[in-house]
């Protein structure tokens, strides 16, 4: 008996691994071939920077609305909100609706950050720092949009799995962004210079082209550098000049711009659903866009919008209109968005922005390898080229056209005088602020419809000058002229992570110019330009 038992035990451990390996499932080693163990997580990160309906049912066009469509996109002046919700008392009139501003936070922390954590862990095990660097670039792109919306976020302390993750000051978050971008660019530059390709099967932005990733990361670093210029000018200059010295340069052509490739990824632009499928249409051309683009007779009008069918002209809608009649504001009297369901791309960063960022940096006297004027004009040319329109030569030299006043064809009481008198043509004699307004205004037009960036740059610089809301229902929390500066922290965080949110409000209060509470009137750390009006 004893002998038999021994033989059985020996036999038992001999083929232990074989018996306990699922024949129908891939092993970790098999997954490691062709980066299949990180690819899906990398794709998930890319797909959750800007939310869209991916057909899975997990993310819908309506999630885009409550991430940015009903907040940043509207606050940037790009679009007007034409849903008939709550008789007009909602985000659009500065009365924040709980649940209408939280997906930017929720998706980033439940889908982008865990995927990044996974990619960097597996990349570390495989000794593939380049893969981790790629994921880190996407993380910074996704999360700077989040901190720019709320302020302090649990960016650095994220990842322990704790249910009480603490928040970090925005200043510290930005410091981390810079160190992460710096090291990602350093890791990827040798690969980019030797023309290598990385994760081509999973990369729906650049199809594995590392050189383009480095250009994007480098341009993103310049974007973030300028963002902090009023809070920490020395840091801004240091990071901007690092970008200028990067041998791979910036994104400059339509092919190099950061966008989700339609051919590789089946997706619909969320604005298509929102403008054409949601009720009578829940988003339309914004009134500020109406003033600037009509005033400039901008050739890009037809690329961005569809003329109103009643008079074949372009008309926008203001924010904060109460009791909106959808047949008047979403129908034949207002311009719809020119988006195609299956071909309009989601753009993270335009090629034109790369030039406008350098124009501003050069205007500030930093070493960018060119003049502000040259970059400014190249930016306009790049934008015309990206949108497939012509007439840029006449446009660039026009020094007479200015934004028009706004007319509401339904309610004359909503009319507004022209928001600005800034002209298009560069003027070397003009003062710093005038030229800054010129650069940011053109950058704003070129970046349409990226509301997150448009709103952030408006808050940072004060440009373009945006029309105020018609009705301000913020109960005195948000100044109509100064306009909304941030979104409150998600209610769900209050309910499930209360202590950390209360501590975050202390951080917000401490780093906001003038202090403030968790509402739309409090300014972020980088938002410290002196507001004169």
């Amino acid at each position: 008996m004893v002998v038999t038992a021994t033989i059985m035990l020996a036999g038992c451990t001999k083929s232990f691994d074989d018996i306990n390996t699922n024949q129908h499932q891939l092993t970790d080693e098999e997954l490691a071939r062709d980066y299949q163990n990180v690819g899906a997580f990398f794709s998930q990160m890319v797909n959750r920077v800007v939310l869209f309906d991916d057909g899975s049912g997990n993310c819908l066009s309506s999630d885009y609305q409550v991430a940015q469509g009903l907040s940043a996109d509207a606050f940037s002046g790009y679009v007007g909100l034409t849903g008939t919700w709550r008789n007009g008392v909602h985000n659009g009139s500065y009365s924040f609706v709980s649940g209408w501003y939280d997906q930017m936070f929720t998706r980033a922390f439940s889908e982008v950050m865990p995927a990044w954590q996974r990619v960097t862990r597996v990349a570390g095990e495989m000794n593939q720092p380049a893969v981790a660097a790629l994921a880190t670039i996407v993380k910074v792109e996704a999360l700077h949009r989040v901190t720019d919306m709320y302020g302090p976020i649990p960016y650095i302390s994220f990842g322990s799995g704790s249910l009480g993750t603490t928040y970090n000051r925005q200043q510290d978050v930005y410091t981390r962004f810079f160190s992460e971008l710096d090291s990602a660019i350093d890791v990827l530059t040798p690969l980019a210079e030797s023309g290598e390709s990385l994760l081509p099967d999973y990369d729906n932005v650049y199809e594995g082209n590392v050189a383009r990733w480095v250009k994007f990361a480098n341009t993103l670093r310049l974007r973030l550098a300028l963002r902090v210029v009023y809070a920490d000018a020395a840091l801004a200059r240091q990071e901007a000049e690092k970008s200028a010295a990067c041998p791979l340069g910036f994104i400059e052509t339509a092919a190099e711009r950061a966008q989700l490739l339609h051919g590789r990824l089946t997706y619909f632009h969320p604005n298509y659903d929102i403008a054409y499928n949601f009720n009578a249409g829940e988003v339309r051309m914004g009134a500020t866009m109406d003033c600037y683009m009509n005033g400039y007779s901008d050739p890009r009008l037809a690329a961005y919008f569809v003329p109103a069918s009643s008079d074949n002209k372009y008309h926008g809608v203001r924010l904060g209109v109460h009791n909106m009649n959808p047949t008047r504001y979403a129908g034949a009297y207002i311009s719809n968005l020119n988006v195609d369901r299956a071909t309009t791309p989601i753009v993270w960063m335009t090629a034109a922005e790369g030039y406008f960022l350098r124009a501003e940096a050069a205007l500030r006297g930093w070493n960018m390898g060119g003049t502000a004027r040259a970059f400014y004009e190249a930016g306009i040319r790049a934008s015309f080229s990206e949108n497939g329109v012509s007439g840029e030569d006449a446009y660039i030299t026009n020094s007479s056209l200015i934004p028009t006043r706004y007319v509401d064809r339904t309610n004359g009481g909503n009319a507004a005088s022209a928001p600005s008198s800034i002209t298009i043509a560069w003027d070397d004699e003009a003062d710093f602020e005038t030229n800054l307004e010129r650069i940011i205004t053109q950058k704003w037009i070129a970046m349409f419809p990226d509301g997150c960036e448009g709103w952030a740059e408006f808050r940072r610089t004060g440009y373009p000058r945006l029309l105020p809301v018609v009705n301000n229902d913020s109960q005195g929390l948000i100044d109509t002229q100064i306009q909304v500066r941030r979104c409150p922290f998600p209610v769900q965080e209050y309910n499930t992570n209360e202590a950390a949110v209360q501590a975050a409000i202390q951080l917000l209060d401490a780093e906001a110019p003038g202090g403030g509470q968790d509402n739309g009137g409090t300014r972020l750390w980088w938002d410290r330009r002196v507001i004169d009006d």
Binding site: N87, V89, S98, Y494, T496
Partner: protein, 321 residues
């Protein structure tokens, strides 16, 4: 008892449910949105009593019947010592949010019940009185997050009682059923939103009276109602009502037509007029508090533009062969 005229039926019960499913919402900042865990203990105890008494009074038969039901549930324990599988931290949950609107919420707490309603509140000053903004002369709502919610009551009744009587005389039967519900509260966001638009009787009265009485002073009704009735977050502590009500739940009169006298193969014919849910005899809520907007366990005791309560009247004809 009483020569078989009284019948009493009583059930007493106590049940203990352990290791229920909980699906707590987690903070997104943890990297997770929810978890499924087993835990907790909920006790239910109650009484169901029915009594029926029949008394012939000469040619008339009088029958009376009573039903009394009482249930008490108590959350004895929620999540205790659950180990977070990621970081090994011990996690205790003594409160669980089971959904709601931006002003109303069902919250489970240890020692509470499964239908505890919490509601949003107005700002108060350091003395606990309602805060009135000195500049704009209006009240202000607290942020609609959990920290500012207060307990309003339980949505479930303390007990239900129904009492029916029927009198039969020579084939004619007249019966009436009264239903009484005692205890519990309901919240009406319909009322709040009607107030917001100044379309309710309450807002009209406030306009006619020259203001809403707050801390003994009248303030502008528009500012008041546009704060407490704001559709983006109604201040539901102003819209909590007692759910206690008494109604005439059923009234019927019927007649047994002696049809067998003329037609042999029909054994009986009864015609009756029946009316259900005829009228409220006592009700303090602005809607029928027995209506429910949801068939689930939670999300009870809230009215958000529900269809009105239904009164039905009809004729019955019953043939027996």
């Amino acid at each position: 008892m009483f020569r078989s005229r009284l019948k009493v039926n009583m059930t007493l019960y106590k049940s203990i449910t352990r290791n229920q499913f909980f699906y707590p919402t987690l903070p997104a900042s943890s990297g997770y949105t929810s978890a499924v865990v087993n835990g907790g203990r909920v006790d239910n105890e109650g009484v169901e009593l029915t009594a029926r008494y029949t008394q012939p009074l000469g040619p008339v038969t009088w029958e009376t019947y009573l039903t009394w039901t009482l249930n008490q549930n108590k959350v004895k324990e929620l999540l205790k010592n659950w180990r977070n599988p990621i970081d090994g931290e011990i996690y205790n949950l003594d409160e669980l949010y089971m959904g709601g609107t931006s002003g109303y919420q069902i919250r489970l707490t240890e020692g509470g019940t499964l239908s505890d309603v919490y509601v949003s509140t107005l700002k108060t000053d350091e003395h606990g009185a309602i805060y009135v903004n000195p500049e704009r002369q209006t009240v202000e709502a607290n942020p609609n997050n959990n920290a500012y919610y207060i307990y309003a009551g339980q949505a479930a009744p303390k007990y239900n009682l129904s009492w029916g009587n029927s009198i039969s005389f020579k084939g004619v039967t007249l019966s009436a059923l009264f239903a009484y519900r005692y205890g519990g509260i309901v919240v009406s966001e319909t009322q709040a939103i009607l107030d917001y638009y100044g379309a309710s009787e309450a807002s009209q009265n406030a306009r006619n009276d020259g203001g809403v009485l707050i801390n003994g002073k009248k303030i502008n009704p528009q500012g008041y109602y546009q704060t407490v009735g704001n559709p983006n977050g109604t201040v539901d502590s102003r819209y909590v009502y007692s759910a206690t009500n008494l109604r005439l739940a059923e009234l019927s009169i019927g007649y047994d037509v002696p049809v067998y006298r003329w037609v042999k193969w029909i054994k009986g014919l009864n015609v009756s007029f029946v009316a259900h849910n005829l009228c409220m005899l006592y009700n303090k809520a602005p809607y029928d508090p027995e209506m429910t907007s949801n068939t689930g366990t939670y999300y009870q005791g809230i009215d958000y533009f529900m269809q009105p309560s239904l009164r039905s009247m009809g004729f019955n004809v019953k043939l027996r062969f």
